[in-house]
Amino acid sequence: MSIRHDVKRYPGLGPLTIFFFLYLYVPLAVIVVYSFNANRVAGVWTGFSLKWYGSALNNAALMSALETSLTIAAVATVVSTLIALSAALAIIRGKNVRFRKLSETVVNLPLLLPEIVLAVATLILFSLLDIQNGLVRLIVAHSAFCTPFAFLPIRARLQGMSLDLEEASADLYANSWTTFRRVTLPLIFPGVFSGAMLAFLISMDDFITSNLLATGGSTTLPVYIFSLIRAGTSPELNAIATLLILASLVLATAALLVAARGTRDNPEH
């Protein structure tokens, strides 16, 4: 059968797909290219320079925002991953779970509601409770909306796993905790790892909630970048953005690779 008569082939899809990937990547490339521009006006190219990276790395406000973001993301990742792990174990493995479907919906609730609604609702809650500490506010809110992102990969991993190895462990007189630690956890680790990575990225990336809940001392990276954008585009901002794009791409690639390897090693697949 010649290609021309292949009925499953639609003409023009190849060029369209190439155009599509250009569309996905050219805007990011534009930021990267301009970050090396010597000129202060972003759109006018005058020469190659690394000076904006120097000034970005010496920017104290940027470093403090980065530190805040990393602190919040680290705590929120640990909290949401632990909560997601225990919820996933209970929902998939627990016996006689009442309202199993509803419990799952509760864990995934942050995905169903517009983030801005949750953000202002949490803002009202914190001001009624008089919780003024920006870090505490952000850690609580981030832990909540990161939980479904940690939950979904762990749940998928647990669901696809057979009980044989755990039963074997129990038959060899391992108690429940030993079985969990030595058999279950290593088996679902790829799911836990990619869940934690996603939670971390989602927390680092968040703008809407952080912007509303942040107080003076708790400016996160996206909130700081927003204030820079508001002040006007600058090549230093492009340098910062380039470094962040690079960091996200590396982290996301690591998470996806581990998740992919996990599916391949999964005894069920």
């Binding site: 983030e115 202002v120 962040l244």
Partner: protein, 309 residues
């Protein structure tokens, strides 16, 4: 599973293990219930209450029942307290729906052919292409919007390019609905391609061949075979794109400028500089109700589809 049940009769060695799994279902779910109860469900009840509270004189609110927050969506209170109809907030709600709908449609128009093309590639290349679709999604949202500010803005890439081609200098494509839409489509695209790809990939190729054997041309096959069979994936993608698009904040704030607001940016304004919490809460409740209606409608449609043979 049944094998090992033979080795270990129920009620003997198995008893403590069974209790562990039983306890697990309670203790395992407790942390998530506490966290979601405190950080999500309680705040939603509070915001519902605030939407019918009275605006405080210096920001904030007092707990007096008042429907002013909701009536302000439609009416403007005159000097003497009479209500006159103002369409400005209805226009914002309308714009929100139009832009979110347009975003969903444009994403679908691109996602279906691209996902179809990717699904027809050899396995190794397919994995790489899917990875490349996913990747931009993990770049910070604010940076993906910022990229379009550099491209479309004053002194940006596109105006500079057009200037070299002989168009007048100083053109700007920013601060209008088109700019907002451009950024919304760009940020949402990966969310659409992935579910659409997942369902197109599961499509049975022999059905396409059967359609051609029955003299259906490519267009008829697309319309009568491919699209109906992949509909669940298209609907899933549409939900994933449409719902967050209704709550968009960054795109209208940065690309639309101060005037071309959407519901999300309007809500944010009420809790920031604008400072009318009951009104902001009323808009938030409206947005949430619209999202819920949309989700329930799609769930009902899906249920009806399953019942029908």
């Amino acid at each position: 599973m049944t094998d090992s049940a033979l080795h270990a009769p129920a009620g003997l060695e198995r008893a403590p293990r069974a209790r562990f799994w039983h306890d697990l279902s309670f203790w395992g779910l407790l942390p998530s219930r506490l966290l979601m109860g405190f950080a999500l469900i309680l705040p939603i009840f509070i915001i519902a209450a605030v939407s019918v509270a009275t605006r405080g004189a210096y920001g904030g609110f007092t707990w007096d029942f008042n429907l002013a927050g909701y009536s302000q969506i439609l009416f403007n209170e005159g000097w003497t307290g009479e209500l006159e109809f103002t369409p400005q907030y209805l226009l914002i709600i309308g714009r929100t729906f139009l832009l979110a709908g347009a975003t969903t449609l444009i994403c679908l128009l691109f996602a279906v052919p691209v996902a179809y093309f990717i699904s027809r590639q050899p396995a190794s290349r397919k994995a790489v292409l899917v990875y490349l679709v996913t990747l931009p999604f993990w770049v910070s949202m604010i940076l993906r919007v910022y990229a379009w500010m550099i491209i479309l803005g004053k002194d940006g890439t596109l105006p500079s390019l057009l200037e070299q081609l002989g168009f007048p200098a100083g053109m700007s494509f920013m601060f209008n609905d088109g700019a907002t839409l451009t950024a919304m489509v760009y940020t949402a695209m990966p969310l659409m391609v992935l579910p659409v790809f997942a369902s197109i990939e599961k499509l049975d190729g022999t059905l396409i061949e059967a359609s051609h054997d029955l003299y259906g041309d490519r267009w008829v096959t697309l319309r009568r075979v491919i699209l109906p069979l992949t509909a669940p994936g298209l609907v899933a993608g549409a939900i994933l794109v449409f719902v967050p698009a209704l709550g968009a904040v960054l795109e209208p704030t940065l690309m639309g400028g101060g005037k071309q607001m959407m519901m999300g940016s309007l809500i944010q304004l009420q809790f920031g500089g604008g400072r009318n919490w009951p009104f902001g809460a009323a808009i938030a409740m409206t947005l949430m109700a619209l999202v819920m209606l949309f989700l329930i409608a799609t769930a009902l449609r899906a249920a009806r589809r399953e019942v029908r043979p």
